[in-house]
Subunit: 500 residues, 2 copies
């Protein structure tokens, strides 16, 4: 985040909100008074007051008459106990089968005329569509030969230089020589896996975890071992160590774990932000176990309640780490420009993987993104996005709370684009999905975020956009969920009556 442009009161508000997000102050708890804030941050009383006003408008705090500011209760946060995580003691690497439900869900959501809450797409109206289009057009016109040449891996020097600066914001100091330009983050993760894994190897993956990562493992002939990704803090170091130790000693048909694909910053789907000390512990642990870290930090720059968090990579052994990210969620989904960063030897292998699988990155897109990022518009844009997504996610959480059956909880992410909704135990989200699709409303049902029979009471919603149509769609999913809950209760009453 470009702090030079952030007003003082906003900086103070951000710090207070960070404390709330990290659970230092809990919902309902009293916050420092305006006078205390003034002393704590060495700012004027007026600035402290403005900070609280901002936090009010963000829906983070509420003033109570004569007794100061309190952390707003807000809709209930989902907790570990609400979700059917895979059974940890039984967690061993398993083959990934092609999943037809995932394919169906993705295809249906993209149909014209549907309300698509499935894909984690950024808000179209927020993207710098015209500006990036203009910059791309200008760059291609100015140097058409640069667009025309094979931009062989690792890709164009000016773009790699800009990327190195972005990566440094996450605490990772790299030279442009260690930056490989890729076709988005998905390709970066694919190349990372191809670079360090051999078919049959096992890979640690978050659960619930991004469905396309599971399907990618299937295509590469890799086995998956799921580690719970807890709401709020993500993967737990102790749980991860348990899984690593178990997979290592299991023997038999189980090869040791080769890599771990982790999203420490605003994980997908639960939106967890892993505490820095856990990042450090996990980075050291993976190195100790000889497991490659593949960090997906695509959402790292999309922190909207806190400062841009550090990448786990900043604490990791560079020769065993591949950092993957992209510009797809921030400024340009369709341009397909992402990157992979790693230590020297690994890097050479990753470059070779890119060469043999697709030869080069697309020239016109690379020129456009370079112009945009080098032109300085990127940081300004991130500031706009930050307040936009804070607003849309807060609104969607509120509507979920109002329209879904009692006992529904949701994630309270501090970054990213998506919400994870957890209905009461026993609820079958596939029924809900089928009911919603009759009305051309699509969302991502929980079971596609795991290989086991997990998250049947969960769903993921893209919260990047807000409109009357989307509000109605979310309400409608809630109503349908209510009807299904009632029907379920009626059935179980009948069963009891019959058996009585």
């Amino acid at each position: 985040m470009d702090t030079r442009r952030t007003p003082l009161y906003e900086q103070v508000a951000d710090r207070v909100e960070e404390m709330v997000v990290q659970g230092v102050y809990e919902p309902g708890e009293r916050l420092p008074s305006i006078r205390e804030l003034h002393a704590l941050f060495s700012v004027s009383v007026n600035t402290a007051r403005e900070a609280y006003q901002l936090l009010e408008s963000r829906g983070v705090v509420e003033p109570r008459n004569h007794s100061g500011h309190y952390v707003l209760q807000g809709p209930p946060l989902c907790t570990d106990c609400d979700m059917d995580f895979p059974d940890l003691p039984a967690a061993l690497p398993r083959d990934v089968a092609p999943d037809s439900l995932t394919r169906q869900v993705l295809a249906e959501g993209a149909q014209p005329g549907w309300v698509n809450l499935t894909t984690a797409e950024p808000a179209a109206r927020l993207l710098p569509t015209k500006r990036l289009g203009d910059l791309t057009a200008r760059a291609v016109r100015r140097d058409p030969a640069a667009a025309m040449r094979y931009s062989l891996p690792p890709g164009s020097e000016p773009l790699r230089q800009e990327i190195a600066k972005r990566v440094f914001r996450g605490g990772v100091a790299v030279s442009p020589e260690q930056v490989l330009v890729t076709a988005g983050c998905q390709e970066a993760v694919f190349l990372a896996l191809m670079t360090v894994c051999k078919p049959g190897d096992s890979v640690v993956i978050e659960s619930p975890g991004f469905f396309l990562f599971y399907q990618l493992l299937e295509r590469l002939g890799l086995r998956a071992v799921e580690v719970p990704s807890r709401p709020v803090t993500g993967v737990d170091p102790d749980e991860l160590e348990f899984v690593l130790r178990r997979a290592t000693t299991a023997g038999g048909e189980h090869k040791p774990v080769r890599a771990a694909v982790l999203i420490p910053n605003f994980s997908n789907p639960v939106g967890a932000l892993m505490p820095d000390e856990n990042k450090q512990r996990i980075a050291a642990m993976l190195d100790r176990y000889g497991v490659y870290l593949i960090e997906d930090d695509m959402y790292g720059e999309m922190a909207w309640n806190v400062e841009r968090p550090r990448s786990m990579t900043s604490w990791a052994n560079p020769e065993r780490t591949l950092l993957c990210a992209s510009f797809s969620k921030t400024i340009a989904p369709g341009y397909r420009i992402g990157y992979l960063v790693s230590g020297k030897e690994l890097f050479q292998r990753a470059v070779h993987s890119k060469l043999v699988t697709s030869a080069a990155v697309s020239g016109p897109a690379a020129l456009g993104i370079t112009a945009f990022v080098a032109g300085g518009g990127y940081d300004r844009w991130l500031r706009t996005a930050r307040s936009h997504y804070r607003e849309t996610v807060t609104k969607m959480r509120q509507v979920i709370h109002e329209s879904f059956p009692e006992g529904t909880r949701s994630s309270r992410p501090a970054g990213g684009l998506v919400l994870w909704v957890v209905l009461p135990q026993g609820f079958d989200v596939i029924d809900l999905y089928n009911r919603a699709r009759e009305e051309r409303i699509a969302f991502a049902p929980g079971p596609i975020f795991s290989l086991g029979d997990c998250y049947r009471n969960c769903l993921r919603l893209n919260a990047a956009n807000w409109s009357a149509e989307i509000e109605r769609a979310v309400q409608r999913i809630g109503e349908l969920a209510g009807e299904l809950s009632q029907a379920r209760r009626a059935r179980s009453r009948n069963r009891r009556a019959v058996s009585a």
Copy 2:
């Protein structure tokens, strides 16, 4: 080829040249007289005379006083006997190891200040750089949102429609619903392999064959079995059947062959054009053996001595065939737009492979290529390219003939961009490569086109460009080859003297 715009005398010349290329008339043989041509093609005597004049200027025929036109002798064509093909009876699938020579060769050739004859790049001055740049800029400006959106696989409808028309020129009738837009042909072949193969499977591959295909098999954990690709006619159906039968019955650790990656039209590197009857036989044979056909038809549109030849796919079982090609060698290397075409069920799996490995194709490039191809400039451009490459390849062959050691032969392709040069047996091209790199001249040495110890007396040159600098570089390679040959002869004389 757009025949409406081809003058009659040129059409006649093309037909005659086709007969020469296909070996119906051999070097030194007398061709039909002008009067006979007039009768054969029902054209005027004048048109027949103009046709021969054109063939003279192309270096295909020579007039002899009062006795008509004869097929020009030209530099000697390389034959099967000149090359160390892998030993066919011993040809069994083998693991592919990462090849450091291939990496070195590719990296060195791309260095600034080097004369790069390594990569098969189209001629920069021939590419529609400015026009495509303008069209791309205009398209992105007109509809920046189209560039911005995820163009999820199979890709944008208008582009797939244009591609379906191109593919039809090769005799393959497909609907746009069976076209997947990819990041170039390399990605198409990669996706095809990923779609039909499992790690450990065996794949038939041409030998000498494109080095990046070998390295791609390595990355995917696939095994390779080499089938000779003969100069002039390419893979021989009987030899292929021998290999398939042997690999099928070998048993033990050898899984049956799953797929064959073939380049029937202007194969890389020998430039062979497979006769249509062989294409038919092989297509039927692969189906019989249950082997998937992955046809790389990237050079199909770059026929410069003959009509655009038919794709093998046009005779194949669509449910067992994946046709791959691109616009990279014709109009836009750096844009990375290619395609994959296949039958319905296979197609769904290929689309999924694209989705999980890189999510989508780059928007700006897809818009630009669509505008170019739909605008009708493409066929005009192919006509220009056709005469350009015919000229550069003919010139380079001539210079090779003049400056390389006696006994050197070369391929005489009728399409594509590259020449395959075969030095006398016993010559070590790696020595030559090392001598040339001291003078910053790079080419592709024969051994990287095979997994065995083959083609040590061969090299591939990119013949797309012609300039004084390139002419000097080719001459210089020839001189260095001469010096090395002399040194070798001197050494062997000394050895004989010592042992006598």
